[in-house]
Point group: C2
Chain length 127, copies 2
């Protein structure tokens, strides 16, 4: 893979933030730095970065694809306020090991989306 400033800029946009941007959001932000970048370029580079394992593509948040950093964590969507929280590794059980032992399949990666009511909403609204 040859170096490209577009790819670097796209990668940084994802790496240095805590949201889960769509291709369109990334396009809008990168455009502030590289004004004439094309939306197709954003999509192509996102696919490459996923392919090479630098970032993760999330397709179960809503109708659009979202992109995220690579480190292992789960997502939790609050049904009350709609926020998408990152749950760190320490917050979730060791699923891979458990499943490998129980099922005999080798687990290489996992994607976990939880839905419920977040801590904040439980406190605020006494749910």
């Amino acid at each position: 893979m040859k170096y490209s400033d577009r790819r670097e800029c796209i990668f940084k946009r994802i790496k240095n933030s805590y949201d889960h941007p769509t291709a369109e959001m990334i396009y809008e932000d990168v455009r502030k730095i590289i004004p004439n970048i094309s939306l197709g370029t954003v999509y192509r580079n996102l696919n490459q970065l996923v392919e090479e394992g630098y970032i993760k593509k999330i397709t179960n948040l809503d109708e659009n694809a979202h992109y995220d950093k690579k480190d292992m964590h789960a997502h939790m969507r609050c049904l009350n306020c709609g926020i998408i929280l990152d749950l760190e590794k320490t917050m979730i059980p060791n699923i891979a090991e458990y499943v490998e032992e129980k099922s005999g399949n080798r687990i290489l990666s996992q994607e976990l989306l939880l839905t419920g009511i977040c801590k904040e909403c439980r406190k605020k609204e006494n749910i």
Copy 2:
């Protein structure tokens, strides 16, 4: 929700099988029973069934949406042969309880996709 034979047929197609059909697959199968059913009707009823909680929509298997029965289980995709396996409840740890305790969020539902090498492929190809 009013009764409709189309909806019943669509629901049965999902309930009485172990695959994870797309809207198109469901359309083709239901057409064998109700030849003039419209693809729009299939989509509308699938959305209603998801909305009402009778079935589940899965959006992280590939680029298309797949539909599945409601009972709690995880999916595992084999990187070698491509099969999508259902992992029963007994095969996965109690994630909800663990996360609730650790994070303080209330968990109401979960969606887990594992990726790796299935038991069969491991045996066959000694991976």
